[in-house]
Every structure is written in C-alpha cells, then in structure tokens.
C-alpha cells in the first residue's frame, strides 16, 4: 500500500516536474518579453510625448476639430492620448509575443488570430472614429442651418443627422470586420426605409392640410422675404 502511494507520488512529481520543465522556460521567456515590452512602451510614451509637443500636435488636432470629439472640456492633451495609445499597442504586442513563447497549439492560434484581426479592428475603429467626427460636424452644420431657417426642432434634427452618420459608420465597420454584417446592413436599410416611409405617410396623410396652409401662407411668406431682403443691403 505504502509502495503504491509512493509510486503515485513519484509519478505525480515526475509529471509536474516534467510540465514545469516544459512550460517554465516559456513562462519565464514570456514574462521577460512582457517586461521588456512594458519598459519599451514606457520609453516610447515618454519619447512621443516630447516629439508631439515639439510639432504642435495639439494645435493640429484642435484646428481640425478632432479635439472636440476627444474631449469637450479641452483639459485633455492630445499628446497624452497618442502617447498612451502607443504605450498600450506596444504592451499588447509584447503580451502576444510573450504568449507565443509557450509555443503550444492554443497560444499559436491566439497569437495568429490577434495578429490577423488587429489591423482590421484598428481600421474598423478608425472608421467609427471618423464617423463620429463627421456626424458631429454635419450635426452642427444642420443645427446652425435649422436655427437660421427658424425650424423649431433644430436640436432633434441635428441629433438625428448625428445618429444616422454614426450608424452608417458602424454598419461600414461591421461590414469591414465581417461581423454581423447582414444585421447592421439590414438595420440600416430598415432605418432609411422607415424614414422614407414615415415621410411619405406624413405627406400623404397630411398633404391636403399642409398644402392648404402653405397656399394660405404664401402671400405672407413673400412679404416676409421682401422684408428680409431689406436686411441684405450691405
């Protein structure tokens, strides 16, 4: 009985030591790689924060209007954001390299998938960021136009434009990633179709009243325009 337990113990110890001797070098190498990547990331962040300050990156972002998307309060510095992004990218690359040091089927698959997906995810993120920026830009234009035209629900209109543009960007990103592409595409088509249907129904159902009102107000409107034109004297 004692010899049996001794055998079990020896067998277990052998197996564990075998596994430790198999994985320990990989683990140590992986940890070392992550540590080096961390230090490198910190160094790159430090360098970038100095370099971008030198080339007035903050000013560029502020002038292009991208800054307003990142931070409305104006307290954040774009330099910090870029430097932090570089830091995390390098660290992530280090972690992936560290994982691949194990050289197993699973880690190889994880690394390959991450390497394969990373550019696509980055591109999709850029599409969404561009969509948010463009949505805000168009939204503000719409807002100002609607206020100058005297449209009472100008904020809602601007918000609708914003949401629509961002939604188009998300659909484009999903299509690019091949992630639930038909769901997003179908949603986009449904939203656009819904808007057109709602507009058609509202015009069709209220068309008579609207046209009657419009015709009644027409002389008034032309008087308004004449008066407005008087303010166009330079």
């Amino acid at each position: 009985m004692i010899s049996f337990l001794g055998n079990v113990y020896n067998h277990t110890v052998d197996r564990i030591s075998g596994q430790v001797s198999t994985y320990a070098p990989g683990l140590i190498a992986g940890l070392l790689i992550v540590l080096v990547a961390y230090l490198l990331a910190k160094l790159v962040r430090w360098i970038l924060s100095r370099v971008f300050k030198g080339i007035a990156f903050d000013r560029f972002l502020r002038q292009s209007g991208l800054f307003s998307m990142l931070d409305r309060s104006g307290k954040t510095h774009a330099v910090e954001i870029v430097a932090n992004a570089a830091f995390w990218l390098i660290l992530l690359a280090g972690i992936l390299t560290g994982i691949s040091a194990f050289d197993t089927q699973l880690t190889t698959r994880i690394t390959e998938t991450a390497v394969f997906l990373a550019p696509k995810i980055l591109a999709a993120a850029l599409i969404i960021i561009a969509g948010i920026w463009f949505g805000r830009y168009l939204g503000r234009h719409t807002l100002v136009w609607a206020v100058n035209e005297g449209i009472s629900s100008s904020r809602k209109l601007a918000a609708a434009v914003r949401v629509l543009v961002v939604f188009v960007a998300v659909a484009a990103a999903a299509d690019y990633l091949n992630f639930a592409r038909y769901v997003f595409l179908a949603s986009l088509i449904l939203v656009l179709g819904g808007i057109i249907l709602a507009a058609s129904l509202s015009v069709g159902l209220c068309g008579h009243d609207f046209l009657r009102r419009y015709m009644q107000e027409r002389p008034e409107r032309s008087e308004d325009k004449d008066e407005m034109s008087l303010w166009k004297h330079l």
Binding site: A56, D58, R59, R62, Q63, S64, G65, S68, Y137, R140, H141, L143, V144, W145, A146, V147, N148, G150, S152, S154, R155, S222, D224, K225, D226, E227, M228, S229, L230, W231, K232, H233, L234
Partner: protein, 457 residues
C-alpha cells in the same frame, strides 16, 4: 507701399470670347465695369449713366463699358448692347473725341460678383486702362456724376482707391454699420465709411495688384469681393479716399439669397484677411479720416420697415439651441452675457445689447475662426442670430433718432471696437501656442494714428 505690379507681372489671360471682343476695341483709358445677373429692369439706366459720365467728364479719353454677366436669362446682356444715349438730351461742353464702347460678356469661374470683377480687371489691364470703376447694376440713383466722382481722384489726384460715401437710411446697411465698418476701421486705422459699398474707383496699379492675387477662386468670388478689395487697398498702403455719391437707391435684392450665407461670406472675408494682414493690423492703433471728395447734400431715402420681434425670436432660438456651437466659439464670459441677454427678450422695448458685448462677440468669432479653421463654416453661420439681436437692439435704440444722431451712435460703436483691439490681440496670440508673426503692441507702437475731432468732408 508693398505693391509693385511692374516687378511682379500678372500671369493672367483673357478668355477667348473676351479676347476676341476686346481686340476690336484695341485701347481704353478708362473702363467702367458693371457686374450683372438678371438686372434687365435697371441695367439700361446704369449703362446710360456710365456712358454719359464718360462722354461728359472725359471727352478726351477712350472709354469702355464692360458688362460682366453671370448668365442672365432675362435679356440683361441684350439691354446693355441695345441701350443708347441720345446726345441731344445732354449738355456736353466738349464734343467727345472717341465713342464710348460697350461690351457685354459672360464671365467664367465661380458664380458671383468677384468673378465678374475679375473679367473687368483683366480687360482693363489688357487694354492698358489708367483707371477703372465698378458700379452695381441694380442702382436706381446713379447719375453721370458718379463716374466722375469715382474716376477723378484716381486720374487727377493720384489716389489708388476711391470708396463710395452715401446717404443711407438709418436702418439700411446694417452689416456695414454693425460689423464691417467698425471692424475694418479698428483694424486698419482708416475711416472708410462704406467699405462694402459696391461702387469703387481704382488705379491701374491697384487692379493689377488684385489680378495678381491667388484667391479669386475662394469665397471672395461671391459677396466677399467688396471688403476684399477695400482691405487690400487699406492694408497694402495704397492711397485711399472717398467720394460722396448722394443716395444709394437700388432694386430689392434677390430674395433667394440667404442672410446667413451673406454674413458668412462678408465676415468670412474680413476674418480671412485678418490672418493674412496680421502684421499690418497689429501695428496700427486708433483711426483717422480719409479724404472725402464731392459736395455733400441731403437726400430723400426709401423707407425701411423692420420687424424687431422676428429678429428677437431668431435670437431666442439661437440662445436655446446654439449653445453647443457658441460655447466653442466664444469665451465663457461672453457666452454667459449672451445667455443673460437671451432671457431678456420678452419685452422688446427694454432689449439692449451693449456695444462692448457686441464687439466681444465679433472679436471672439474672429479668434475662433483662426483657432479652429475646420469649424469656421458653422461658426460664421451661427453668428446670424447674434447679428439679428444686435440689429434689433440698434433699431430699438435709434427708432426716434435723426440721421446725425444715428451716425454718432455708430461712431460710439467704432470707438468701442478700437478700445477692444488690445483684447483682440491678446486673444489672437493666445489662440496659438506658436504665434506666426512677431508684432509690436499698439500701445507701444510707433504707428499710432491720432483720432481727429470730426469726420471730414
């Protein structure tokens, strides 16, 4: 002066159709340009006045009238070519030595007054004209004397730019009175009362300088051309004067044209030129009169009706909905003052926008357009409700005032803009971490312009 047209010859060429037409004329001493677009109702009168002006006052010179048309479909061009001047109806002291030629040509490029002027200047330059004048095609009050008043200071007194000086209704020309005149005067230090009047005279040196400019394809090609021309003349040291032309009566403007578009283009031109002439305006302080030619007399003016309630409604709406945009363009203090004012619109009789607040608004927008050029488009358009509030305040305040008192009121606003120049320079410099051009503070500057006691003329 910073200009020398001979040293830097303009690389320009006339369009083929214009070249063909111009070759028949061969030579011209003075050119009168008339931009048009569907102005058949008034252009005949303008052409006849121009023709009579040249024949009567410059019988010894070769004159050419150029109608630069934007594709009129109402027979404007045909009217120009068909208009005749019956000599027997005019008293000429001298017989004209040369006939006054007329050309009507379509211009190319961005539709707008700027492109029309470009063609006129190209023709004047090609024909070797000594002076050129431009007049609007919708004028009802133009007389032959206008041509003399616009050309004589150039031909006989060595001036480069003749700006118009009109009598206008106190509620007319509000963009001029509330933004363009005070701002241009405070920036460039010269009191040109109608910087966007539309009727100008200019020397060969100046129109050649205009042709040398690279920005013909920008917004200046639309409504911004008048202030563009005036600013270049003021900033580049050309000799500038004014001529009193009487009343400016003209056809109602195109109702399709949009007020915010117009503000965008005029104010956008002023702001864009502020960037370019930063070194000039930062070093000028105060303002001085410019020579005013012509005999001043009182004239009857068309009445103007104003709907203050509608302007205040537009302002209220702006206060409610445009916070998101205004807080990006204005300082916190200015924005807070606007919000307070927005809550005070219920009773129009007590509504009042202080001169200082208005000046701050305009200057803040100028700085914002420099700081965030990508957002410039909607910044400028969002100025419309604020502008309407200012006009409403002005109308309420001057409802019972006579013309002279109104002029004094405008003078006060201009003085306020001049006082606020230090504020502008501070904000302008802090808007960029790396100021593009070194400058001297006006307080310490050597180019301080003394303020004379009264308006000349």
């Amino acid at each position: 002066m910073t200009h020398d047209p001979k040293a830097n010859p303009p690389p320009r060429s006339l369009p083929a159709d214009a070249l063909k037409a111009v070759e028949k004329v061969q030579e011209a001493d003075v050119v009168i340009g008339i931009p048009s677009f569907n102005n058949v109702r008034t252009i005949t009168h303008v052409v006849r006045a121009a023709q009579a002006g040249i024949s009567k006052y410059y019988p010894q010179l070769r004159g050419l009238i150029v109608n630069s048309d934007g594709g009129s479909s109402d027979g404007t061009r045909e009217s120009v070519l068909a208009s005749t001047l019956e000599d027997s109806q005019l008293l000429f002291l001298s017989t004209p030595l040369f006939p006054v030629h007329r050309l009507s040509l379509p211009y190319h490029g961005i539709p707008g007054k700027g492109s029309a002027f470009r063609l006129v200047f190209q023709i004047a330059e090609h024909l070797g004209a000594k002076a050129c004048a431009v007049v609007d095609s919708d004028l009802r009050s133009i007389t032959p004397e206008w041509i003399d008043l616009l050309l004589r200071p150039v031909l006989h007194a060595g001036f480069d730019f003749v700006s118009p000086y009109y009598h206008r209704h106190k509620f007319d020309g509000t963009i001029t009175n509330s933004i363009v005149y005070p701002l241009t005067r405070s920036l460039y230090g010269l009191r040109v009362r109608q910087p966007i009047g539309g009727d100008f005279g200019m020397s060969r040196a100046l129109f050649c300088r205009y042709l040398n400019r690279p920005d013909w394809e920008t917004d200046t090609a639309r409504f911004g051309i008048d202030i563009w021309m005036t600013t270049i003349a003021l900033a580049e040291g050309f000799r500038v004067c004014q001529s009193f032309l009487g009343a400016k009566l003209h056809d109602a403007k195109d109702p399709g044209a949009d007020l915010s578009d117009m503000l965008h283009q005029v104010v956008g031109s002023v702001f864009a030129l502020m960037n370019e002439y930063e070194n000039v305006w930062k070093n000028r302080n105060g303002s001085q009169d410019v020579d005013l030619f012509g005999f001043r007399y009182g004239v009857g003016l068309d009445p103007i009706t104003v709907n203050v309630d509608r302007m205040l409604k537009a302002f209220r709406m702006g206060c409610r909905d445009l916070t998101e945009v205004w807080e990006r363009a204005l300082t916190r203090e200015t924005h807070a003052a606007i919000r307070r004012l927005g809550g005070n619109t219920a009773n129009p009789d007590s509504f009042h926008m202080e001169d200082e607040l208005w000046a701050r608004i305009v200057l803040d927008f100028a700085v914002a357009c420099r700081r965030q050029p990508v957002e410039r488009g909607y910044f400028l358009r969002s100025l419309t409700p604020l502008y309407l509030a200012r006009v409403a305040s002005f109308v309420i305040e001057t409802a019972d005032l006579l013309a002279d008192d109104v002029e004094n009121r405008i003078e006060r606003l201009c003085a306020c803009f001049e006082q606020m120049k230090a504020y502008l320079i501070d904000r302008w410099d802090t808007s960029s971490r790396f100021p593009r051009a070194p400058h001297r503070r006006p307080e310490q500057g050597q180019e301080t312009i003394p303020a004379p006691a009264s308006q000349g003329g």
